[in-house]
Each structure stands twice: as C-alpha cells, then as structure tokens.
C-alpha cells in the first residue's frame, strides 16, 4: 500500500459525507446503498465512522460530473478514467467525483459503482495507489462480486497505518495476493486452454503463454465474472474444445471465454456417488478423463459418457510414483504434470513412470 505523500489524514474519525447528485442509470436507493457499503469497507477495519448528511458542508462530497468540472482534472468520457478523489483536507479535500458518462452498475457489467466508490474513498481517507494487483487501491478497475467482497490485507494494513485498528475486539483480516515465487505456493487447479496454461489460485490465475513463456496474473473475474473464487479442478476436453472447471459438486463448461448454457451442473452427471463432495484435480487424455479425489483416481469415458469399470483405483496403482494427494494436473505432450503442494511430478505416459520432480513455481518462471 502507499500513503499519500505527507500522510494527510482526517484529525477526527466521525466523518460525514453528502451525495450531491445522482446518476440516472441507477435508482437513488441503489446509489445510496452502494455508497454506504463502500464506506463500510473502510469502517470495519478502522475506528472511522461515516454519517450521511443531506445539507451543509460534509467532509466527503460525492458527485457525478462530466469532462471539465472545475477541479483541473477533467474526465474523458466513457471508459479510460472512471473517477477520482482528493486527499483529506478542507474544501475539496476528501471529495470524490465519478465520471457521469460511464455506465454505472450494481453487477459485473462495467463499471460496478460500489467497487469504484470503495477505491475512491480510500483516497478520500489518505491512501494512494497500491502496486499490489489484488489490492482495492490498485489503480486499474477489476471486478469482484460485491456480495462476497472482503477488503484485501494490503488495504487493511494501509488504513490501519493511518487511523489504527478497529474498535472491535476481533481485528478483521483480508485476502493476500499470491506471489508467484512464494516457495510454499500450491495451486488450486491447472488446465490448458487452447495452447496456453492457466494456473488457478484463490480469486486469481496465472496465464502462461507457450511460446513467449510470459506469465501474467489476472483476476478470474476479469475473464469469467460468473465463476466463484477457489476453483478446485479443471481440465480441457480437446475434442470438444471445452474447458471444465469444478468447485464442490458443481462444474462449469467454458468455450474459450464464454460459459456454456445450462451450467453449473452437478458432478453426478459424470457418475460420481453423493459421497464424493469435491474433486481435487482432473485431466483429459485420449478420450478418457481422469479425476483425482483424495488418494483415488476415477476414469470417465468421454464418448460413452460413463465411468469405466474397475474404478476408482488408488492413484499410486494407476500412476506409479504418484504417492501423494493431487492438487492439480495437466497434460503437456506425452507427460502428465502432477502438482502436489509446492512440488510437481512429470509422469511420462510412454514409460508409465515419474521422470522428474521439481518446484511447482518453476512454471511461473521462478
């Protein structure tokens, strides 16, 4: 996180705000609810309180304005700059302006008012931009489901540096952005997707480009706002050009970046008994899909649409040398790459043996 140079902050903690005008795209109630929720993001981890006033001079004035609007920082029409806010202080200090030419929403369509407002109020309180891509105070817009939104730890650290901890006996904590070269990094799921490799972790994924070997970190919601965080398994069905993603007993089918109609579905469709509550990992190879659950492996016949007889089998019997619980697995050339904790094992499908073991985050160029 970063504090605004000079660390300007409010000298009182019971702050007032006033909504000067509204956007025609949302009802007044929806705007008020989004603004109130955005302030609550900051009041929970700090001693700050926010009270709305409808008359007089508030600490934080909120307005929807277009283009040049008198503060020497003009907006630029749809997209580009979405909003800005001023550091704590008298007059314009603390005020937040939203570009009235944007499309303001209360869902995953660009741009969610709650998320942008929560970010701008961070500036109103004295925070600058964070270089942590998972932080609320990261400069670029990134959608997260408001109903499950939790202020990241980076932002909690920032606001508590300015105003101290919250008054509640239990200090709130938040999610931290995974770092590629963390030696303890373990993946939730891995799959190929039309030649690229996707490594899923919490609400993020790393995307590895085969030729460039470049790896970039993205929010899952950037590509697939309808998917939950914390996916558990994923595989690519090359024949159908589909990717299947699993969490709990639910699964989704993606064609590129689009979700297939009629999903999520229940894994009972594959023939799993109700005793199977979740899948650890999955990979499809030569018309068969292998599912890994605890220390067992199931094999599903893609064309017959049923589980093969003789399964489930123990993983170590089906894949000699893989004697551990599997977090994730994907296919590359004639190898299955099994990930377990911070390690991966290359299983050669020709010799039917493990030919290499190394650190998982080698795949993230670490």
């Amino acid at each position: 996180f970063r504090l605004t140079p000079g660390s300007p902050k409010w000298t009182h903690t019971n702050l007032t705000y006033r909504i000067i005008n509204y956007t025609p795209q949302l009802s007044k109630t929806t705007v008020e609810t989004a603004i109130e929720k955005a302030f609550r993001v900051w009041s929970v981890p700090s001693p700050l309180t926010f009270t709305e006033i409808s008359q007089g001079e508030a600490d934080i004035n909120i307005a929807f304005v277009p283009r040049e609007h008198g503060d020497n920082s003009p907006f630029d029409g749809p997209n580009g700059i979405l909003a800005h806010a001023f550091q704590p202080g008298q007059g314009i200090g603390g005020d937040a302006h939203f570009d009235s030419e944007e499309t303001w929403t209360q869902d995953s369509r660009n741009y969610n008012l709650f998320l942008v407002a929560a970010h701008e109020f961070g500036h109103s309180l004295g925070l600058s931009h964070s270089s942590d891509p998972g932080a609320l105070m990261y400069p670029n817009y990134a959608y997260s489901d408001p109903s499950t939104y939790s202020l990241p730890q980076d932002d909690i650290n920032g606001i508590q540096t300015l105003y101290g901890p919250s008054n509640s006996p239990i200090q709130p904590t938040g999610p931290s952005t995974p770092t590629a070269c963390d030696p303890h990094l373990r993946f939730d799921a891995v799959t190929t997707l039309r030649g690229e490799i996707y490594f899923f972790k919490d609400k993020y994924f790393w995307r590895r480009h085969p030729q460039l070997r470049e790896v970039d970190l993205n929010f899952i919601s950037l590509f697939w706002p309808f998917l939950p965080n914390g996916l558990q398994a994923a595989y690519e069905d090359f024949d159908k050009d589909l990717v299947f993603l699993f969490k709990g007993r639910q699964y989704w089918a993606l064609s590129g970046y689009d979700i297939q109609q009629g999903y999520p579905r229940d894994i009972a469709n594959y023939g799993f008994p109700s005793s199977v509550r979740a899948i650890d990992a999955a990979v499809s190879y030569r018309g068969k899909t292998y599912f890994f659950v605890n220390n067992q492996c199931w094999r599903y016949d893609n064309s017959r649409g049923t589980m093969d007889p003789g399964y489930p089998r123990s993983i170590s019997r089906a894949f000699p040398g893989i004697n551990c619980r599997v977090d994730a697995v994907f296919l590359q050339n004639s190898f299955l790459l099994f990930f377990s904790g911070p390690q991966y094992f290359a299983f050669n499908l020709v010799t039917h043996s493990v030919t290499r073991a190394a650190r998982s985050n080698l795949w993230l160029n670490c």
Partner: protein, 80 residues
Amino acid sequence: LPVPPEDLEEKNAKTVENYLRKFYHLPSTQFQSARRNSTMVAEKLREMQRFFGLAETGKADAATLEMMGKPRCGVPDTGD
C-alpha cells in the same frame, strides 16, 4: 485498411505521453528539446513499468500499451 505504421506510431506516442502526463507527472514538452523529451518519457515509462511489475524497457511495448488502455482511477500513481 491496416493503419499505416507511422500513424500507429504517432497514436501510440500520444497515448503514452497522455498517460504519463496524467499519472506520472510527465512535464509538458513545449519548451523542451526533442532529445530531452524522449529521455524524460523513457524515464517516466520505466517508472510506470516498475509500478505495474512490467519489464522496465523504457519503451512503449505491447504489454505497456495494453496496461495503459485499461479503465482506471484518475488519481496519479505517484506524488500527491
């Protein structure tokens, strides 16, 4: 018709200057020599690339231009 490269170059240069002026306090260039200006732009580009964890090339490469095209907050990334 494909955009002729010199137009694209010009367009990218404008995008870069605009972005760096707004968010990295690139000084206006009217009283500066072209050489001094290009040094300043490269320096500010590296600052932006460092902030976003991009390769610090000092050049407007594809990843940098892609980052500059993303919707964002209007507050500068450095300074007050």
